[in-house]
């Protein structure tokens, strides 16, 4: 009884530490999981999920991802997933060696926790957990007939929840369990047959549903995105548990101390993961920029960080522009190209998200929407909550009632947006009464994205010659390009001295 109690407590160590580390070290990353996710109960979305093998598992992953908008819940979900995998690994390990079972569970859960930090999607995490729970369940059934019947029942369930490769591997491991643990002899063939049926699922699926992947690994390994972590996990799980079971532990307290140490090891692993930290910084920058907290960005990003990290540099310059101090501060960064202001012709997701904020800050909502729409297209679902919310807000700013109403209707089919939508619906009702139509303000529009930054900014200033933000971008751009004649001509033509109380120092130097 005492040993069980201690096991229950020690089993919580890794999950609790996981919760704390996620919550305190990576809160913005948690929020970004929700921002990049998408779950709606629209026919097209549901059809996309249900029409492919493993699609229901993907749907569940997306559903759970919604709750990451509350960081406490996101961290809790990660902790619960860690606990689940620890418990299921423990149950499997119990069959191999009682004395090291709790240690086995803890080691697997620690690896899982690290995997979540390394970019394992919620869907992949869920599928791994289902896999391990399934194995734990299978190995726990002593009655042969019930075990084979359970395996048979799992074929259609796994077809819906897991990628085909995973479900096939599941039955291969079941066969190994039959042969090595239950000594079933020829009856080992039964789970092998189940595995073959699983393997044929994508082919059978195409008869009933139009799903024909041109790349077989899409359905086989980890649809929609292949993650080596998932593969490594499901292939290496049982061998790892077997290896750990070989460790002879003669003192009861040893596993408990080891588990505590494993939990402690997680702390530096989590807090010193450079990539995860960099991503967290970028997520924080986006979050601050999206709410217009420019002071916080300016004070949070050092010049050294901006010089070492292009994304940080862009956010810092954007903050300077919004605070009206761009020409005063830009010399500290010593930029060599006007690409420091925005990411030109980028297909990178993070860079497109920055670009959308850059253009929104200039009031160029057409281009903000363009950038965020393209970012959404690059996601697995073809849309993300962040993109959809942004498009609603920017369409409302443009007075585009019809499209914002459409997007709001779509968002109403998600689980966690009622309060957010209520505010927008109020604004929408107000706009409808005002009968605003999106105007064509400029007889000759400016084309964005196909010309140099300075040319585009020049054309924008042409139409908006009192806009200090655009003027400073243009003048700073000219200085970066060392185009002094044009700089001098423009600063005079625009009567810059009348637009601002003091001429920035770098402008003064250039005018000398």
């Amino acid at each position: 009884m005492k040993k069980l109690k201690i096991n229950k407590i020690t089993m919580l160590i890794v999950p609790v530490i996981t919760y704390l580390l996620w919550y305190f070290c990576y809160p913005e990353t948690l929020a970004t999981i929700e921002a990049n996710s998408y779950f709606v109960t629209t026919p097209d979305y549901l059809n996309m999920k249900f029409s492919q093998p493993g699609g229901t598992g993907w749907l569940l992953g997306d559903f759970i991802s919604q709750f990451y908008q509350w960081r406490e819940i996101g961290a809790l979900i990660f902790a619960l997933l860690t606990l689940l995998i620890e418990w299921s690994s423990y149950r499997i390990a119990l069959k191999l060696s009682e004395e090291s079972a709790s240690l086995s569970g803890a080691i697997i859960s620690m690896v899982f926790a690290i995997a979540t930090l390394s970019g394992l999607t919620i869907t992949s995490a869920l599928q791994i957990i289902l896999f391990v729970i399934g194995l734990a369940f299978y190995i726990s059934i002593n009655n042969n007939r019930i075990r084979y019947a359970t395996g048979f029942a799992l074929i259609p369930l796994w077809a819906m929840l897991l990628p085909n490769g995973m479900s096939t591997l599941f039955f291969i491991w079941c066969a190994a369990i039959e042969y090595l643990y239950y000594k079933s002899g020829r009856l080992t063939a039964i789970p092998i047959i189940y595995g073959i049926i699983s393997l044929l699922v994508p082919f059978a699926w195409t008869w009933a549903i139009t799903f024909v992947p041109s790349e077989l690994n899409e359905a086989f390994v980890s649809y929609p995105s292949t993650k080596w972590i998932s593969i490594a996990f499901v292939i290496g799980l049982l061998p790892a548990l077997w290896l750990i079971s070989l460790i002879h532990i003669n003192k009861r307290w040893i596993p408990n101390i080891c588990i505590l140490l494993l939990g402690i090891i997680l702390i530096p692993v989590f807090s010193m993961d450079k990539k995860a930290q960099k991503d967290e910084r970028h997520h924080l920058m986006y979050a601050l920029a999206s709410i217009g907290d420019w002071n916080n960005i300016a004070s949070n990003i050092s010049i050294e960080e901006a010089k070492a990290d292009a994304v940080a540099e862009h956010y810092l310059l954007l903050a300077y522009s919004e605070l009206g101090v761009l020409p005063d501060k830009i010399p500290d960064l010593e930029p060599t190209s006007t690409n420091c202001f925005y990411f030109k012709n980028s297909n990178n997701v993070e860079e497109r998200e920055f670009n959308s904020l850059f253009y929104a800050a200039l009031g160029l909502y057409n281009e903000s929407i363009h950038q965020t729409f393209e970012r959404a297209m690059q996601s697995e679902n073809g849309m993300t909550f962040r993109s959809l919310r942004n498009m609603i807000d920017w369409a409302l700013k443009q007075g585009d009632i019809a499209i914002s109403e459409k997007y709001i209707t779509v968002l109403q089919h998600s689980s966690c947006h009622s309060a957010w939508i209520t505010k927008r619906v109020e604004l929408l009702s107000y706009l409808k009464k005002k009968n605003i139509e999106k105007p064509d303000r400029y007889p000759i529009p400016v084309f964005l994205g196909s010309q140099s930054f300075v040319t585009e900014m020049g054309q924008l200033v042409n139409w908006d010659s009192k806009n200090l933000k655009k003027i400073d971008y243009l003048l700073c751009g000219l200085l970066i390009e060392k185009n002094l004649p044009q700089f001098k001509a423009l600063i005079s033509a625009l009567h810059y001295d009348k637009l601002r109380n003091n001429i920035p120092q770098c402008y003064q130097y250039a005018l000398q």
Partner: protein, 477 residues
């Protein structure tokens, strides 16, 4: 025994009371505000039910009648969902007549119900082709996610995929075209890794890499010759630019375009040097239904994108000899932008050869992004411009097709929200007069809003396409 009988009778009475439709207490002389707007539309007798909704309603009652005969009534919360069997029965019996719909609505403003003025749905005596094919794609700019070419049975709500980009490495599938409305003879392009032009001919599927043929020209916009022997293509170098502001976010344009003919039987390309030189741009080719003429859009080249407002396409036609695949000498101008001040796209001749239907925008060649783009029609015998006001709106109207009997057109429109293209179907009589168009019906009207893809390139077909999906995937590897 007596008490059991009493209870039984009482239950029956209760049941009937519960089942009899409640009646609205108020009446109104106004027409109801329904979505989609099916008031006074003209429909074929073999179309799917025109289900509609009233937002915010707590209860609806729709009574369908023909003359003084009540055909049936349908009730719902926010949606009127008509049984397909009943609907088809009513329509078949009512060919050439009208169905009157009287709608009563119970909502917060009218808790005791309000009965609106009846509206009509006109049933044309003409049927419509059984299926349509189209592409579904996000109305994006540069990249896409999932897309495919789909087909939909017009008498029901059945929609299924012909080919999706799951089958071609997430590339692009586009420009589907059918020979004489036949599901047995079609083509489409697959772009990206393993791509090519897929031609499906009476059960045989082949992939053609046009860049490996004699002229190495890559086909874009296609149309089959009615004989099925030729396909005419344009070949386009397409770009796009993004507007910083305004109602039009993007301009898509060609930097060059030409036309050529592909001989399906002999696998060779035929080009006329007049229509492959660089000072003029040719695009959107279309054969006349009798195969004797080739129509296409033509413009003087300009500097793009700066001079996009000066880019105006005319519609011209040239004779076509099906025996040799050659084009005639004379090039006639059918639509002249110097006179009309617009720019034309998608010339389509009615099956009886009488009318030319096309899209007119202020300039350039990709009208779907032009809010001012409208459908126009010319009577070919005398050049008379027909009245198309009934089918146009304040938003974009663009790609269109004729049904095989020439009595219906289906066209793309962004009138619902200005961004997502939806299909409207309009009846047209032999005199070129249009009935009020109706939105392609859906089982749930809200699906028109919830769908986050645009409908593209509607084409009528006489039957269901059954492309072997695995074979397509294998060819596109």
């Amino acid at each position: 025994m007596r008490s059991i009988l009493s209870y039984f009778c009482f239950s029956i009475i209760l049941l009937f009371t519960a089942c009899s439709p409640k009646q609205a207490k108020e009446t109104s002389r106004q027409l109801p505000n329904i979505f989609p707007d099916y008031i006074n539309v003209t429909i074929p007798y073999n179309i799917a039910p025109l289900n509609f909704e009233v937002k915010g309603a707590k209860h609806l009652l729709a009574e369908f009648s023909e003359g003084n005969t009540l055909l049936g009534s349908v009730s719902g919360t926010e949606t009127i969902d008509i049984s397909e069997d009943d609907w088809h029965q009513w329509l078949t019996a009512g060919k050439g007549k009208k169905i009157n719909v009287t709608l009563s609505v119970w909502d917060d403003i009218h808790p005791d119900g309000i009965k609106y003025k009846s509206f009509s749905i006109n049933i044309a005596p003409d049927n419509i082709d059984e299926w349509i094919a189209y592409r579904l794609i996000e109305p994006g700019y540069e990249v896409w996610n999932k897309m495919g070419i789909y087909e939909r049975q017009l008498s029901s709500f059945e929609e299924c995929a012909i080919v999706t980009n799951r089958q071609n490495n997430s590339g692009c599938v586009n420009c589907h075209s059918f020979s004489q409305y036949s599901p047995q003879k079609m083509m489409f392009h697959a772009r990206g890794k393993g791509g090519g032009t897929m031609i499906y001919n009476e059960g045989k599927l082949e992939k053609v890499d046009m860049t490996k043929l004699n002229l190495k020209l890559k086909g874009v916009y296609p149309m089959w010759h009615p004989s099925g022997r030729y396909i005419v293509f344009s070949t386009n170098n397409t770009c796009q630019s993004f507007f910083h502001d305004g109602r039009t976010p993007i301009e898509v344009y060609d930097l060059a375009s030409d036309i050529f003919i592909y001989d399906v039987e002999h696998h060779r390309e035929i080009a006329d040097p007049r229509f492959t030189e660089s000072t003029k741009w040719e695009t959107f080719p279309a054969f006349s239904p009798d195969g004797k003429y080739l129509y296409f859009c033509q413009a003087q080249s300009v500097k793009m994108p700066q001079d996009y407002q000066k880019l105006k396409y005319a519609i011209v036609r040239v004779a076509f000899d099906a025996a040799t695949g050659k084009l005639g000498d004379k090039v006639e101008t059918i639509y002249n932008p110097a006179i009309s001040k617009g720019s034309a796209s998608f010339p389509r001749i009615s099956p009886d050869g009488k009318y030319l239907l096309f899209t007119e925008a202020a300039n350039a060649t990709f009208p779907i992004w032009h809010k001012e783009a409208d459908l126009k029609m010319i009577r070919l015998s005398d050049g008379k411009v027909m009245n198309t006001a009934m089918i146009n709106s304040k938003e974009t109207e663009s790609y269109h097709s004729w049904s095989s009997n020439g009595r219906w057109i289906i066209f793309s429109s962004r009138r619902l929200d200005g961004r997502y293209t939806r299909f409207f179907i309009a009846w047209v009589n032999k005199d070129g007069q249009f009935g009020k168009p109706f939105l392609l019906p859906q089982k749930e009207p809200e699906w028109n809003v919830l769908r986050m893809k645009s409908y593209n390139i509607p084409e009528f077909i006489k039957g269901k396409v059954e492309l072997p999906a695995s074979k397509v995937a294998n060819l596109l590897k």
